[in-house]
């Protein structure tokens, strides 16, 4: 594996040195001759929550799937901790993925396993030196952090939608990732549970010191979690800024997007 390189960039907004953990340049990805992402470039800085907003079909989920190479880009480069994801061999890719937590839109809990086994599964594979006791302790602690301490031996089918999402979040953070990728974390949840998930995203950022990309079209989630927002439209970055910049914007697309969800 190549050495980890952290590039440093001076951002004009706050004139302070920030470390780039993800740097995407001119990313293109399409399916069946139809371009989904067209020349997309963005950066994720250390410790920040970057929210990516956009309509359905604007390529938000494709973007984060390209970051972990679940999808292979047609063109462009994706650097995670300075390493070009597309140039990694299978072993290096597996090592890189260990640093990234991915919360799927559907939760993607393993149906045939209990919640405890769901959490143990990645933990055993990523932290191979942990003893049985340490694994049990870590699983219990993590479930407690997401408020699901009493679901240890339950099957995913016995949990509600919000609980499944939290269990899935627990499975993602149990391996102490450095970057979190959230794919529509509040989709299909009621407003109260959505707020709980948004709070959890913030808690995780503080407690585990993660850098995150949150893919969403839920303005409330964006408002609660975003340090910075990028809006995608037609596979390109349409606007970048803080939540205040977006709320003030007179642009027709932005304002309609925000007004429609008020």
């Amino acid at each position: 594996m190549t050495n980890m390189v952290i590039t440093e960039t001076v951002t004009p907004e706050n004139i302070k040195i920030e470390k780039e953990v993800i740097k995407i340049d001119n990313l293109r990805k399409g399916f069946d001759n139809e371009g989904i992402l067209k020349n997309l470039s963005l950066k994720l800085f250390d410790g920040e929550n970057l929210v990516v907003l956009g309509k359905s079909g604007s390529g938000k989920s494709v973007l984060i799937k390209c970051i972990v190479r679940l999808l292979t880009p047609d063109q462009g480069t994706i650097n995670v901790f300075g390493e070009n994801v597309n140039g990694l061999n299978n072993n290096d890719l597996a090592d890189m993925r260990k640093k990234i937590g991915f919360l799927f839109q559907s939760g993607a809990l393993y149906d045939s396993m209990t919640i405890k086994q769901n959490l143990e599964f990645p933990l055993r594979r990523i932290h191979k030196n942990l003893s049985r006791k340490e694994i049990d302790k870590k699983v219990e602690e993590t479930l407690e952090n997401v408020g699901l301490a009493d679901t240890l031996n339950k099957m995913p089918s016995q949990l509600s939608g919000g609980m499944r999402k939290r269990a899935s979040l627990a499975r993602t953070i149990v391996v102490d990732p450095m970057i979190m990728l959230y794919d529509e974390p509040t989709t299909g949840l009621d407003p109260v549970t959505s707020d709980e998930i948004s709070s959890l995203i913030n808690d995780i950022q503080k407690k585990y010191k993660t850098s995150s990309i949150v893919i969403t079209h839920d303005i409330e989630c964006a408002r609660a979690t975003a340090d910075r927002i990028i809006m995608l439209d037609d596979g390109e970055v349409y606007m970048e800024g803080t939540i205040k910049d977006f709320e003030k914007s007179a642009d027709a697309l932005i304002s309609s997007f925000f007004k429609k969800q008020k």
Binding site: A94, F102, F104, S106, A108, Y110, D111, F121, R125, I126
Partner: protein
């Protein structure tokens, strides 16, 4: 067009001919597209087979999952195989007995039934039942895992899904199906003994000594060898169909159905090839 006679020119201009030409070209395009898709499917199938074979020899073998799959396959299929095994032996005996009585060869009944069960009926019927039970189960399970992004989740948590899900299932099916066939064979002969006792009184020891008198090593060996291929085919097709299922829930049903159809077909084809090879020996 200069050298073409005016009659032919007139013929070409006829609207009916134009329509036919357009229809023919449409059909050609559709056939080409279907052929392309078929070739792509065949390519995917062999690529998947190649990846599975490579992963099967990986150092990091998922032994626990392999044992779990062995248990699942054996445990889920055992009741069905038990009933089928007994019924095969029973029915074969009841149906054959009158013919053998006519020929005065009723003493050959145990041997005939035992040879039929061990060489052909046991392996093929068990293979087809396993294709239905195990093939569809694997197709549906992996298909639903694909639809609900569980396979993707496995991949991002640094687990090789082919190694964890496919290799373990294929190897478990390859190991367990021969064992299930031997079990079905044994129950089949027991069923035959029960059938022989419906119209007469045949002692257990006499029946079995008669049955095994006619069974040679070359009856058992090819029959057992082909069941390993049945198991590998059923496991592989079930996993392939599930793993390559589409994104919608409808594709889960399609994956299960096509897994059953293809693996049943493969069981019959493998049996045909095995019979030809055995016949040559």
């Amino acid at each position: 067009m200069k050298n073409i006679s005016p009659d032919i020119k007139k013929f070409i201009k006829l609207p009916d001919v134009k329509k036919r030409v357009i229809k023919l070209s449409d059909k050609t395009i559709k056939t080409t597209q279907t052929a392309n898709l078929f070739l792509a499917d065949v390519g995917d199938f062999f690529l998947f087979l190649f990846r599975t074979t490579i992963e099967a020899f990986s150092r990091e073998f998922e032994f626990q999952e392999f044992l779990r799959q062995c248990y699942q396959i054996g445990n889920k299929t055992l009741p069905l195989i038990s009933v089928t095994g007994i019924v095969i032996g029973l029915v074969l005996t009841i149906q054959s007995r009158p013919v053998l009585v006519d020929f005065g060869a009723v003493s050959m009944l145990p041997g005939m039934v035992a040879v039929s069960i061990i060489r052909e009926m046991g392996p093929v019927v068990t293979g087809l039942i396993c294709a239905g039970r195990i093939g569809s189960g694997m197709g549906a399970e992996l298909g639903s895992m694909k639809v609900t992004e569980q396979i993707d989740a496995m991949e991002v948590s640094s687990t090789n899904p082919i190694r964890f899900l496919v290799v373990t299932r294929v190897l478990a099916a390859t190991l367990m199906i021969p064992l299930l066939v031997l079990y079905a064979d044994a129950l089949g002969i027991m069923g035959s003994w029960a059938g022989a006792n419906i119209k007469g009184d045949v002692p257990f020891v006499l029946f079995f000594s008669q049955a095994f008198r006619y069974i040679g090593f070359m009856d058992l060996l090819p029959a057992v060898i082909k069941t390993f291929f049945f198991g590998a085919a059923i496991g592989f097709v079930g996993c392939y169909k599930g793993y390559t299922a589409g994104r919608g829930t409808e594709s889960v049903g399609k994956a299960a159905t096509s897994a059953v159809v293809l693996s049943s077909l493969l069981v019959i084809i493998i049996d045909l090839i095995a019979v030809q090879i055995t016949d040559m020996l």
